[in-house]
Symmetry: D2
Subunit: 283 residues, 4 copies
């Protein structure tokens, strides 16, 4: 046999669970997708086909259902840590467990000017993310984030002053559409006392900066969003942002005798620019 | 040759166009996907390979771009009719043109308690639909609709009293989650004077009825939604509803020593019930 | 109440079932997705919330599982008819049942030049379709088809001689890439004695005609494919084809000092032409 | 400003390019999706909005088109390295460039027993991957891989002997369906002299091992596949495998008076096990 096992992990992905919490007549829906992943001493399973240490991923799924029944699933970060800690207990050979939860939001339906107690509309594609990394004998690491937060601005976004080579045909512009699907993930140095407040502050900082920053490029605004996020939560010590550039191409209408003063655009899906960076707290 | 051409149509689908309308500092985004489809006398193209009558679908796309520059794209229903009428002019062999537009909504980003003039969040997956059928020498038919309006309710939904046969294992329930993605399409007897108002009234009637109806089944609530829609717009004379039942299965936690008083559910994607009906105005 | 129930149907969609048939050491995988849909007298459910006639869609799912255990699931057309007939028995108020089955193919893995008995690779996205319409007191109607049969040709495809108007910018071409995802559905006048042979003959006729037809347009080749299909199966009396035109745009490399003799293309997804027609057997 | 730029990268993703190579009457289609990503000294763009060093991602796209016209796009690994080297030249501030290419296969259509010269069917969802990492002043690193190679086996797959805790309900089995979508990525210690041969040997080793391994678990077979891959190519020094477990649940038919001797299964998409490991060459 020419090889050795260098590293490995396993777990269950896309565990769907909806918990309905009833406070009198008022219900709240917690709609979660949970991924769990274990690392540890599972060499015998790979090399020898010995499953004595392999807690089934089906058991992991059951554990998530049961814990969701027994405990609050919010704040998300705490439920993630709870699942991780419990898995370390159930699976003695696991040395590290990562639990990532994506939460789909439901907003109350407005009926005659009043938000309904038990009826909801989907909050769109945006997901709130919480991630807990539980290592045996060490404090859990906590991350939070957003995924698929799709935003667009129609003013104050430029891209000019870039180098031109033999393959450059792009025109400089001081006014373009800037559209992206924000994925952001930030790490808490210590677990925040109020995870929902911390999440809300960072999310709002990302949105407000996207909306108002005088943008010279995606990079420029991405970095400003990272700085704003760290400014919004003292507990966050690092944020990673991934911004796909959903290009909107200005249509050339000259062939039809028409001008196009930044008015008619074609949004495209392929190809797309992809800009990523990590901003870390100083010191 | 054993066959004859029985019927045919052709057109361009998924024409993406974003129009930015600027009223002073305040911008509005119209994000449309347009499908156009022509029927008419195109036998020679099929049978003889003679393209003399075949206006290219690329031309249809260009026409949509140009008309979007020259005209208001809202109300959606009027822009759809405009495109259809113009295509009848440009394509003399077309006898009927159907133009369907899906509008993706963008909502303004809230920055410090004020809705921003030029920055937007995606409004989710829900699409507003407008459809104009322009026939040569006849008034255009107008339809409106919604697609992917995803809603969920946690109370007041039952399913019981159904027949049981040898293959029935489903339990009766007086309290279940009812989740669906509403597709609705209604036909206007005459074009509404205020299409936006008519659309808004029907959409709100659908939502409010979904939220508040004492539901004995998906069929029962679907029908009530159809009645409410016709009640909300005098111009609508027929509505077709398609409600996939996004089942949420109650998890059996007994093996873990836990009860589950309608609290923990697993949402599933496959299989799904699909309930469809058309409600027509009396007389 | 302003409305009346004009028509309605309900059923279960996306019932997934995999049947493993073992003939000695050699296994065969039948991987099916079944949709069933009932029409009939279900007014009381809609209007009165009375479910006495509403066979649950969950029961329909169970029925499919049980019948798959008890009967051959191939030929596909016969299994579809069997499910439909049985549903008419189980659901006395149903007047018509439509059962549509999509079959996903698995091909045997080649191990050292020999096709393996029990290991398979996915056959791609193409699906074989069978559809049975069972009406109470009438013979079942049978359809067959293919979905997502993706094909591409690099020679012998032209588009020229089309009309030009003020919005036409497309260049004429005698040599373009022609790429499409074939959806075809044909109706059998009477159920074929050998449904697999009939399906194979029609599918091969579609492929061979796509490959070899001197194409003046998508319409031209679509029609030839329809004629060839009717020629390949005496039992088929009508075929409907839907061919999205997956445009491949020739890249303009002149800015880089390069020509592009029909060599470098960009495939696009939006927008796309959509060409549809029905070819019917003469007489 | 509380933060500093910790790391960053940018580039263009999903650059689609189809190259038609003509050798006499026989054409070959190279259908590629290219992602390029640059790392380097781009701090000024992020922090100061200074784009002087930011080669536009649009230029990267143009470069790929032009190089595809001027050079062979196969073997894939060499074209990836060519694009990377050229980007290092065009972008002086880039210190490292990663170029990843996914190739979609097209197989020739069989017409009357002969493979056609210019007509093709899609080869399904499987993609061949090549990845070149070009660092300034260092040799390029080369990786190859497959993505979405979907396979299924109906015999010789077990899962038993696993630990049971309070949350374990899974039954032991010596005979289950094992279905997965193989993603594999292997690193070449030195660039192989014949990349196509190396790729083919590794892919076949993965398939044959999947088909024939006496599987005690996904982990067990994954590891065997990794060993077989390293055995099949001397140039490969490490392989990473990611195997989602596409569970096929045995249907309980007892309620209908039927047994189910491993015959009727429901394939599910959510949740799924995910097993990942890296196997490295010894020494």
């Amino acid at each position: 046999m020419p090889g050795v096992l260098a590293n490995d992990n396993y777990g269950k992905s896309a565990i769907r669970v909806v918990k309905v919490v009833r406070e009198g007549a008022r219900h709240t829906v917690h709609d979660l997708t949970v991924d769990v992943r274990c690392e540890g001493e599972f060499r015998a399973a790979h090399v020898d086909g010995d499953n004595a240490a392999v807690l089934p991923t089906d058991t992991m799924k059951n554990l998530v259902y049961a814990l969701a029944r027994q405990h609050d699933v919010h704040p998300l970060e705490r439920f993630a840590a709870l699942v991780g800690d419990r898995l370390l207990t159930e699976s003695p050979r696991a040395m590290r467990v990562v639990v990532e939860i994506a939460r789909h939001e439901w907003t109350r339906i407005d009926v005659e000017g009043r938000l309904h107690d038990t009826a909801f509309e989907s909050g769109g594609t945006e997901m709130r993310i919480a991630c807990a990394g539980s290592a045996r004998g060490a404090p859990a690491a906590t991350e939070a984030g957003v995924r698929d937060l799709v935003v667009l601005r129609t003013a104050g976004s430029a891209f000019s002053g870039f180098p031109r080579d033999a393959y450059t045909t792009l025109k400089e512009t001081r006014d373009r559409i800037f559209c992206t699907s924000v994925s952001a993930r930030w790490r808490y140095g210590e677990a925040p006392t109020d995870p929902d407040a911390a999440f809300g502050a960072v999310r709002q900082a990302l949105l407000a900066t996207f909306a108002t920053h005088r943008s010279e490029s995606v990079q420029h605004t991405l970095y400003a969003m990272g700085e704003a996020a760290l400014g919004a939560s003292d507990e966050a010590d690092e944020i990673r942002l991934s911004l796909p550039n959903r290009h909107h191409l200005l249509v050339d209408l000259a062939a039809f005798g028409l001008d196009n003063p930044n008015e008619i655009f074609v949004p495209t899906r392929e190809p797309y620019g992809l800009i990523e960076a990590t901003v870390r707290r100083k010191g």
